[in-house]
Amino acid sequence: MVQVSLTVGKLDASLALLLTKDHHLIEFPTILLPDGITAGSIVRITCDRNLEEEQKEKEQFEQVQEEIYDLFGKNTPQAPVLRV
C-alpha cells in the first residue's frame, strides 16, 4: 500500500500539480481529488491493490469466455440460411 501526503500547487479542470515533501512534482487527475480542494490544500492519497476484486473479475471473465465458446466456438447445428 502507498500512502502519501501531498500539497496541491496548481489546479485546472483536468490536471492538478501536486508536490511531495521531497519536491517531487506530480501531475494528478483532478477528477480523483475530493470536492472543495483548492491550490494550497493538502491531500492524503492512499493506493492499494484490490486482490479480492481481481479474483472476482477473473472468475466472471472466465465464465463469460466459457459461454462464448459454448455458443459460437463449437460445431453446433446452424440456423438455416435463406437461399432462394
Binding site: 483536468s14 463469460v64 465458446y69 455458443l71 466456438g73 432462394v84
Partner: protein, 679 residues
C-alpha cells in the same frame, strides 16, 4: 488484362536523359515508407530522323521476382512501342526503343533494384543502397524487392483518397495472374513475416506491430483474392509454433473464408493462453456483436480496452457496441476516451518529381470503350468545380482522416439513431458544459480537453430548439467529464453536415412537391450524396448518386452506388425471414418482392461494375480488387453463366471490347475457383 497496347501505356517526356532515374536516386535517402511506385524508363530512337528521346512511367503489379523476369517485361514494353508508329503528341512517330530500365524499391533493406535492357543486346542489373552505393545482388534482396512491390500494388490498388492529385502516368497491373507469383508471395510472406514492421501500417495505428502491418494486410488480401485459404492456414500454423501471439492471424484467415466457428475456437484458445490479448478480444467482441449478443460483446471489448488502452481500435469497438445496444451515454464516454492518431498520413503512391503538364503523353485506349465513360471531358469537371455551391464543397467533415473519420462515423451513427436534439441532450448530460464551468473560476481547462460549447451548436431547425443542458444539477459537476477538444470539434463538423443536409432535404421535398426540375451539376449531386452517406442516409445518398450519374459519368458516384447496392444485396441475404424495404419502413417484403429487388440490384451492380472497369482501363488500371470482389458477390449469388450472359447481352455485339475486358475478370475468378463460377 494480360494484353497491353500502345494506348494503354502513359509516358512522360524527360527534360534530359535519365532525369527520372536521377530524381529517383535523389529521393531514396528520404524514403520513410513503402517508397515510390516501380519505374519504367525508355530510351526511344526515331530511326528516320535519328532523334533520340527518353520517357518514363510508373507501374505497379509487375512480378519483380528476378532480373530476368523484369527484363522480359521491359522487352515486351519495348516491342509494343516499337511494333508500329506511335501516336506521339498528335503525330505518328516511328520510335524504336533501344534501351529500357526498371527500378523497384525494397522497403526491407532500403535498396533500389535496377534492371536495364539494351535492344538489341543484353540485360544488366544492380542494386543500390539509399545513399547510392552499389550493393551485391542476392536472392534474399530480390525476394524482398518482390514482396515490397507486391505490397505497394495490393495496398494502393483501390486508393480512393488519391483520386484527385494522383499520379496519372501510372499503369496498375494485376500481380496475381499466375500461380507461381502467388506461391512465391506466400513463401516470401512467411520468410519475411518477422520483419513486417518495416513495411509500415495503416494510418489508424500509432505504430506497426508484428501482427498489424502492410505485409500482413497484403497477405490477407492475397488470400482473399486467390482463395488459397488452406495454404494460408498452413503458413499461419507454422508461425504460431514460433510465436503464440500469431493465433489472431489464424482466426482472421478463418473469418475471411467464412469459417466463423473455427475462428471463434482459435480465439477462445488464444484468450485462455493470454487473457489480455487485445486483438483476439476485439475480434471476439466483433463476432459476438455480429451475432447480436451485445452483452457478451461488451465483456470482451471492455477487457480489450483494459488490455490495450492506448489502441484506438479497442475503444472504437466498445463504442460501437454501446451504440448498437442504445447506451448512448456510455458510447459518448467511450468515444471521448479514444486515443487518436494525430501524426500519421496514409501511404499513397508518390511521384519522384512533378512533370510539366505539356510533357505528359496520356493516350486514350481505344480497345475498350463506353462512350460516356471513356470520353468524359475533364474540362467539364473543372467547370463544375468553379460553379459549385461553396457550402457543399467545403464541408470540413469530408476531409477527416483515419481515426478522426472513424470516430465521426460513430458519432453520425448515434445521430442517425436518435437525432440531433437527443444527441445534444446526452452530450450535456455527460460532458461539462461551458455555462456550468464558469461558476468554477479557479479552474481552467487544459489544452487537450475543453468545455462543451453552449453557443455555437444550436438546434438545426430553430423551431424545434429547446434549451439543452440547463436541467443538469450542479451537484453532478464532478461526475461529468471534460470533452476532448477533438471530439468537441467533431460535434461542430456534425452540426455543419446536418445543416447542409437538412437544407438540401427541404429543397428536395419542395421541388418534388412542386414537380419542379433540379438544377444541380454532377459534382453537386456527388457532394450531396457524400454528406448524406456520412450521415448514414444511404437511401438518400444513393438517389443523389443516381442523379449525379444521370448527367455524366462520375467514378466517385459509381463506386459509392456499387457500395450501396452491395450493402442492400447483403441485407437481402439476411437469415431473417422478414426484410424491411429500408431501415425506416417497418413493412416487410414478400418473397416475390425480395426476388425482384435482388434481380434489380444485380443488374445495377453489373452495369456499374462494367463502367468502373472501363474507367479503370481508360486510366491504365487493369487491377481493382474491389471490382473483382464485388463481381464475385453477384456471381456467388446468381452464378457466373447468368452474369456472363448479362454482360454479353449488352456489350458483346457492339465490338467495343467491353465483354473482353470483363471476361478477363471472369477468367480470373474461374482460375481461382470462386463460388458460383461452376454454374
Amino acid at each position: 488484362m494480360s494484353y497491353v497496347t500502345q494506348g494503354s501505356i502513359p509516358e512522360v517526356l524527360e527534360k534530359y536523359a535519365n532525369q527520372s532515374l536521377e530524381e529517383r536516386t535523389n529521393c531514396l535517402p528520404a524514403i520513410q515508407d513503402l517508397g515510390p511506385p516501380d519505374l519504367v524508363q525508355l530510351v526511344k530512337l526515331n530511326h528516320h530522323s535519328h532523334k533520340e528521346i527518353s520517357t518514363f512511367f510508373y507501374i505497379t503489379g509487375t512480378n519483380v521476382t528476378s532480373s530476368s523476369s523484369v527484363a522480359a517485361v521491359l522487352n515486351s514494353f519495348a516491342m509494343i512501342i516499337s511494333e508500329s508508329p506511335q501516336l506521339w503528341f498528335g503525330k505518328h512517330k516511328p520510335w524504336r526503343v533501344i534501351q529500357a530500365t526498371f527500378c523497384s524499391y525494397n522497403v526491407f533493406s532500403k535498396t533500389d533494384a535496377v534492371v536495364t535492357v539494351h535492344i538489341p543486346g543484353s540485360a544488366e542489373s544492380h542494386m543500390v543502397s539509399s545513399t547510392g552505393e552499389k550493393i551485391k545482388e542476392t536472392e534474399q534482396l530480390w525476394l524482398e524487392t518482390f514482396i515490397s512491390s507486391m505490397i505497394r500494388s495490393i495496398i494502393t490498388a483501390d486508393d480512393d483518397d488519391a483520386e484527385f492529385a494522383s499520379i496519372v502516368e501510372l499503369r496498375k497491373v494485376n500481380p496475381l495472374l499466375n500461380d507461381e507469383s502467388v506461391t512465391l508471395f506466400l513463401e516470401g510472406f512467411e520468410a519475411l513475416f518477422w520483419d513486417g514492421q518495416k513495411t509500415g501500417c495503416h494510418a489508424n495505428l500509432q505504430l506497426p506491430t508484428l501482427l498489424e502491418n502492410y505485409l500482413v494486410d497484403t497477405f490477407f488480401k492475397v488470400l482473399q483474392l486467390t482463395r488459397r485459404f488452406d495454404q494460408g492456414v498452413e503458413i499461419v500454423n507454422r508461425l504460431i509454433e514460433q510465436d503464440e501471439s500469431c493465433r489472431v492471424l489464424l482466426a482472421k484467415v478463418y473469418m475471411l473464408s467464412n469459417q466463423e466457428i473455427k475462428a471463434m475456437d482459435i480465439i477462445c484458445q488464444g484468450i485462455k493462453i493470454n487473457p489480455r490479448d487485445a486483438a483476439l478480444l476485439t475480434l471476439q467482441a466483433e463476432i459476438c456483436m455480429g451475432k447480436s449478443r451485445h452483452d457478451l460483446a461488451i465483456h470482451a471489448a471492455t477487457r480489450a480496452v483494459e488490455s490495450s488502452p492506448s489502441e484506438f481500435k479497442c475503444w472504437a469497438t466498445l463504442a460501437k457496441i454501446y451504440i448498437n445496444v442504445g447506451n448512448f451515454e456510455e458510447a459518448l464516454l467511450t468515444l471521448n476516451s479514444c486515443p487518436m492518431v494525430t501524426h500519421k498520413d496514409r501511404y499513397h503512391l508518390k511521384r519522384v518529381f512533378n512533370p510539366l503538364k505539356q510533357d505528359l503523353h496520356l493516350p486514350l485506349p481505344v480497345d475498350v470503350t463506353i462512350d460516356e465513360v471513356t470520353t468524359l471531358n475533364p474540362a467539364d469537371v473543372t467547370q463544375e468545380h468553379k460553379t459549385v455551391d461553396a457550402s457543399l464543397l467545403n464541408l470540413p467533415a469530408a476531409s477527416l482522416k483515419s481515426t478522426f473519420a472513424e470516430a465521426y462515423g460513430l458519432l453520425t451513427e448515434i445521430v442517425h439513431k436518435i437525432g440531433w436534439e437527443e444527441l445534444l441532450r446526452y452530450r450535456a448530460k455527460v460532458f461539462v458544459m461551458e455555462h456550468e464551468y464558469k461558476k468554477e473560476k479557479s479552474h481552467s481547462a487544459t489544452s487537450s480537453t475543453t468545455l462543451a460549447n453552449d453557443a455555437t451548436i444550436k438546434a438545426i431547425n430553430c423551431g424545434n430548439g429547446q434549451q439543452n443542458g440547463n436541467a443538469v444539477n450542479d451537484d453532478d459537476f464532478r461526475a461529468k467529464r471534460l470533452c476532448e477538444r477533438w471530439l468537441d470539434n467533431l460535434f461542430m463538423l456534425l452540426y455543419e453536415d446536418l445543416r447542409v443536409y437538412t437544407m438540401y432535404r427541404a429543397e428536395h421535398m419542395h421541388l418534388t412537391a412542386q414537380q419542379m426540375e433540379f438544377k444541380k451539376t454532377t459534382l453537386e449531386w456527388e457532394l450531396i450524396g457524400m454528406v448524406s452517406w456520412r450521415l448514414k442516409h444511404f437511401k438518400e445518398a444513393s438517389e443523389a448518386f443516381k442523379y449525379a450519374l444521370g448527367l455524366r459519368f462520375s467514378v466517385k458516384a459509381c463506386k459509392k452506388l456499387i457500395e450501396f447496392y452491395l450493402n442492400e444485396r447483403s441485407r437481402m441475404n439476411q437469415p431473417e425471414t422478414s426484410i424491411a424495404l429500408n431501415n425506416l419502413n417497418q413493412s416487410t417484403l414478400s418473397i416475390q418482392e425480395i426476388l425482384k429487388y435482388r434481380s434489380f440490384l444485380d443488374i445495377n451492380l453489373i452495369s456499374n461494375l462494367v463502367k468502373l472497369g472501363v474507367w479503370n482501363h481508360r486510366w491504365y488500371a487493369e487491377f481493382s480488387p474491389k471490382l473483382i470482389e464485388s463481381l464475385a458477390v453477384v456471381v456467388e449469388n446468381g452464378g457466373l453463366i447468368k452474369v456472363e450472359n448479362e454482360v454479353k447481352a449488352t456489350y458483346f455485339d457492339s465490338q467495343d471490347g467491353v465483354y473482353d475486358l470483363m471476361n478477363e475478370v471472369f477468367k480470373f475468378m474461374k482460375h481461382y475457383d470462386y463460388p458460383g463460377t461452376d454454374n
